[in-house]
């Protein structure tokens, strides 16, 4: 055992569709340690959710693991069948979904939905399960848990429902929590509170968490490490400081530059030209090349490997090759990094 809670080794996931094989996740490797929050960012359709669901094995029937392995807590679960997976789901693995308005069963009281998860994995009496559920509701910050235990989800606001979903996810003391756009559907003030809650839970329970989002701000707030995904691949991974203040991949530059805070002088937002590629027959070479103004000839021919930048930081771009011309990150990003270093 390497002390990693979760290890993905060269994982590739494909969907069989009538139009061909969609390579949703391509050759992804990452590690997650206990008590660590890994943020995963990227555009819609870049494989963030598929990656998480593949670990939970919640993907539809036409998806399959093409290569690579998934190791949870030292156990290789790549070939686990449904029965074995059910032990893991809600056991070691848990997931919080995007839309709290629809992820709770509307007709079953909140409390029952939590005790159900508890009793699925532990043989406890109804009273014990109830006590534990109320404890969980307290933990996620639902006041008057005793009373609200009996209420159906429609009595709750969106933020409270997401708290309940988190309570459900925590019911059986998971080791890894996937938060799949857990705050995207919430308004910003509520989002802040939920993010604080996730941080709080992480410290209390020493969970490993994978936090998927396309909100760079939210990721910056919670994540210890950040992985940037593009077209099914991780293009840059490192600590949050590495990614936010010393990004190396042109795609990460593009993402960060499009933050409203870094808008152009006239207030126009920066953006990345073009669209992500369709993942049926992905282009050879670097999938980002066509949208990359720093692209070189080799980017269209050969896929860049992961170049280590530092011990914690690596990025997949030919710009880091020693033969490549020196290219510096966009000026607005450099200014920001300088500012940050001053504060330090």
């Amino acid at each position: 055992m390497s002390g990693n809670l979760l290890e993905l080794n060269n994982l590739s996931i494909s969907f069989d569709t009538p139009k061909g094989e969609v390579q949703a996740v391509r050759n992804v490797s990452l590690q997650l340690k206990p008590g660590e929050i890994l943020g995963v960012v990227g555009e819609s359709g870049c494989g963030k959710t598929v990656m998480c669901k593949s670990v939970m094995k919640l993907l539809p029937k036409n998806a399959h693991i093409k290569s690579g392995s998934i190791i949870v807590d030292g156990e290789d679960i790549t070939d686990y069948n449904e029965k074995k997976m059910r032990q893991l789901r809600g056991g070691k693995l848990s997931m919080v979904f995007q839309d709290p308005m629809t992820t709770l069963n509307p007709t079953i009281p909140i409390g029952k939905q939590i005790t159900e998860a508890i009793q699925k994995h532990k043989k406890v009496s109804n009273e014990e399960a109830k006590a534990r559920a109320i404890e969980l509701l307290d933990l996620v910050g639902i006041r008057d848990a005793n009373e609200r235990f009996k209420l159906q989800p429609h009595f709750f606001s969106g933020g409270m429902r997401q708290r309940c979903v988190i309570a459900v996810a925590l019911a059986s003391e998971p080791k890894i929590l996937f938060a799949d756009e857990a705050t995207t559907a919430l308004d910003v003030t509520v989002e802040e509170k939920i993010l604080n809650l996730l941080l709080d839970i992480r410290t209390k329970l020493n969970l490993g968490m994978i936090f998927i989002s396309h909100d760079l701000g939210a990721v910056a707030k919670v994540a210890d490490r950040v992985a940037v995904m593009y077209a099914g691949k991780i293009v840059e991974i490192g600590t949050a400081e590495d990614i936010y203040y010393d990004p190396r991949h042109p795609y990460t530059w593009g993402l960060l530059s499009s933050l409203p805070a870094l808008a152009k002088k006239d207030g126009e937002l920066n953006f990345i030209q073009g669209m992500p590629p369709i993942l049926i027959d992905p282009p050879p070479g670097d999938a980002f090349a066509v949208r990359n103004k720093y692209a070189m000839a080799i980017d269209y021919e050969k896929e860049p490997p992961m170049f280590p930048v530092s011990e914690t930081h690596s990025a997949a771009t030919w710009l880091l090759d020693e033969r490549a011309p020196r290219v510096v990150s966009p000026v607005n990003l450099r200014k920001r990094s300088a500012l940050w270093q001053q504060i330090q």
């Binding site: 809600g90 997931m95 629809t102 069963n105 509307p106 007709t107 159900e116």
Partner: protein
């Protein structure tokens, strides 16, 4: 708290009783007028062939005697007055009081209809759940194919075939009637007579509902909360039984409420094929022969059934899903 709740129930009951009276009143007026607007002569039903040999005077006298020459208003209120006192008038075809014609037959139809109704829905829910659990597997496909096939077998043909096989050739079941002569109090004998008609009724109805419930369940299974339930580690079976079926519950109950008149009126064909004495035939005949009073009674009876069923369905649905409660706050 408790007395408040009781007050609420009383209020609700009163509300529904008033609604019931209004609904029945409107229904009776509409049916009354429609029946009389339809072309045809009720005297035909009363006198049959003899009508041709009657002269105008006799016909006018007959009309006056049967109260058919009053204007609609008078006719309606005469009928209403009688009905409120439990007298639903004279059946023009049978020349007896409507309740005397229907009395002995209604039990037969209800026994057949209600048994069929219960079996149809138990079967429909079980098959729908099994099919949904095995979505797109062989079992699901077999259930769907066989179900669709049975649904499209015409009931009158199935009835005749069943009679041919089980009565004529094998002699296991009687081919007609509701009981053997002199055995009308023998429950076993009645059940024995009911089996073939029941099979026909069930075969012609269950798949319609089963398929509806199956698809509804599958819709439900695509919802987000199923993902959360799955990520808790629940099995597909647990999710379908504990989560989906419960959420489909209101739909099933509503379908069941609507299905009551449907299934009961389904007895018409069966009654005809098996010579089963029931009111299904009466209803059809009364419409055909302008047997006004009989028509009114059968329609109102069905209407009352539907009303009562939807009332019960609403109450059950509120229990399953409290969001369905009709509250004062909701205005449109």
């Amino acid at each position: 708290m408790k007395s408040k709740k009781r007050n609420k129930i009383i209020k609700k009951t009163i509300k529904y009783v008033i609604l019931f009276v209004i609904a029945m009143f409107i229904l009776s007026v509409v049916v009354f007028i429609l029946a009389r607007l339809a072309p045809g002569d009720p005297l035909q039903a009363f006198y049959g062939e003899a009508l041709d040999s009657m002269n105008d005077e006799q016909i006018a006298a007959a009309r006056a005697r049967l109260g058919l020459d009053d204007n609609l208003f008078v006719q309606y209120f005469k009928w209403l007055g009688g009905a409120l006192h439990g007298d639903f008038g004279l059946s023009l075809k049978y020349k007896m009081k409507v309740q005397d014609v229907m009395g002995p037959l209604i039990g037969n139809t209800l026994a057949l209809g209600i048994t069929a109704y219960i079996v149809v829905f138990v079967l429909a829910i079980v098959l729908a759940t099994v099919a949904a659990l095995h979505e797109d597997d062989l079992l699901d496909k077999i259930i769907c194919k066989v179900g669709t096939a049975t649904y499209y077998i015409p009931p009158f043909w199935l009835g005749v075939v069943l009679v041919l096989i089980f009565s004529v050739n094998l002699g296991w079941f009687p081919s007609s009637g509701a009981y053997d002569v002199g055995k009308q109090n023998d429950l076993g004998n009645r059940i024995w007579h009911m089996i073939l008609p029941l099979i026909v009724m069930i075969a012609s109805h269950f798949w319609y509902y089963a398929y509806m419930i199956r698809n509804k369940l599958l819709d439900e299974f695509r919802k987000d909360y199923v993902l959360l339930a799955k990520s808790k580690g629940l099995t597909r079976r647990q999710i379908v039984w504990k989560h989906c079926l419960r959420n489909v519950g209101p739909t099933i109950v509503s379908i069941m409420a609507i299905a009551i008149p449907h299934v009961i009126s389904g007895t018409v064909v069966v009654e005809a094929v098996f010579g089963y004495p029931g009111i299904g035939n009466l209803a059809v005949e009364s419409a055909k022969l302008h047997d006004y009073n009989m028509l009114m009674t059968t329609v109102l009876l069905t209407g009352a059934f539907v009303f009562f069923a939807s009332f019960v369905a609403q109450a059950i649905n509120e229990q399953i899903d409290p969001r369905m409660k009709v509250t004062k706050e909701i205005r449109w």
